[in-house]
Amino acid sequence: MTDNSIIKLTAAETARRIAAGELTAVEVTEAHLARIEAVDEKVHAFLHVDREGALAQAREVDAKRARGEELGPLAGVPLALKDIFTTRSMPTTVGSKILEGWIPPYDATLTKRLKDADVVILGKTNMDEFAMGSSTENSAYGPTGNPWDLTRIPGGSGGGSSAALASFQAPLAIGTDTGGSIRQPAAVTATVGVKPTYGAVSRYGMVAFSSSLDQGGPCARTVLDAALLHEAIAGHDPLDSTSIDAPVPPVVEAARNGSVQGMRVGVVRQFRGEGYQAGVVQRFEESVGLLKELGAEVVELDCPSFDLALAAYYLIAPSECSSNLARFDAMRYGLRVGDDGTRSAEDVTSLTREAGFGAEVKRRIMLGTYALSSGYYDAYYGSAQKVRTLITRDFEKAFEQVDVIVSPTTPTTAFPIGERADDPMAMYLADLCTIPTNLAGNAAMSLPCGLAPEDGLPVGLQIIAPAMKDDRLYKVGAAVEAAFVERWGHTLLEEAPSL
């Protein structure tokens, strides 16, 4: 068995072989660490690799097996963790200089669950600073390359996680999705990413960007792998007041029984038009055709308030972030700049935030401060919250008619690094199709649906389900995935250039 054959395995197959004794967890971990060593200088998916910690975890899995203990469905499988979840054994920077070197004194609930599931955490992945961005260019630690073309963006904010998957540095990864930060990176790297229903995955220990929108979720190369990871990280957490206190939907079962036979699939009028790349539209339409072939009924839907989603999002997310990021004040942890013994705490706070935050973070803090300030609150924040209600109602009406909604995940394929770096308005358009779901709190997935003919880059298909019906994503996703793989004769990632 060569290393290459290990790193290309799915998570499900890796776990099966470890449990069966065909592979050891240490072998698997070493293979991935070797891959990271070989390619990550080019990709820059990781901000921190915990070689020793990962091997120790792997040894523990092998010891458990040797003791005859039953192993969980992901035991020994390596994972790349977005650097937004706190970890006691590794730094947590959130892609920001203001937290450089910070080692949290506590583990996030998600971190704990991964450890409890014997998932081997390889390290922490790169991201747009505080998850603000769609390209990972906003990381204070430099951009990540898209394994399909290293001069292009891997999506964002979770570009490190998507790039790690697409370059076979890890079979599993964790992302967070506030406006599309799991799905858009998945789309542009031909991987699978799921934003679960808001409240499905605990936010305790996940550094907050926009509390009412943020949601952690699974990233993988197959729908089944995503489902296995989903099941490992989801579930009620008493430390998160917004956590859903109900059983996790049967996502793994759904992923093992993919089908769209007899399902009604909605296509939303508002998810097309100007700004969509021709090849993206073409692959999306083919996907809709495929769904019909597989036995789904396609229904045209009108969701008029979706047109206001982007505007509402760029008020709500900055508002919440302006408050969430106020704690970075140089007093208790993180960077402190300008404390020369003569300056006041207030001045040191201002100097530190100026030096420690990047341009996009500052821009959003200012925007949020503006939207919440007296005199503007009603017109901006208040109206945005009303739009949120209207979008939720549009979804409710739509889901009376259909079981799931489909759309392109993002209007274009991966754009070149630097192209939109100082054009926030252009950058924000990347999340046009993903944002309504965050505002309403329901669930969505992105999975590969082909390459755009004009640039040969991956296109993502978004599937949207009602809140708490996350299993539908996996049922539909698994069916679409199987049909595409059959049509292509292989997974899309097989076509990615070798690094």
């Binding site: 808001y198 206001l308 505007a311 208790r332 006041s344 705490a345 500052k362 017109a379």
Partner: protein, 98 residues
Amino acid sequence: MPGITREEVAHLARLARLELSGEELDHFAGQLDDIIGAVARVSEVADQDVPPTSHPLPLTNVMRADEVRPSLTPEQALSGAPAQEQQRFKVPQILGEE
């Protein structure tokens, strides 16, 4: 909606504790003006009789029992402190009182 002025941007920066340079003020003033111009669209719904949504899930009354849980040790609490003294966080002089 009226556009945002450089002075307003400077005011926001003070509120948000950001020591922006003059160059940044100019740059942000232009960008924020564009963004605000675009997002101001939401006020189309301002006079609609719709309840605002602050929380995506309709949960209420999530509470915990008044039972003590272990705290961090002072060493852990102070582990990330830029400066400390007498087991307390050491911070520059504080102006004024709230």
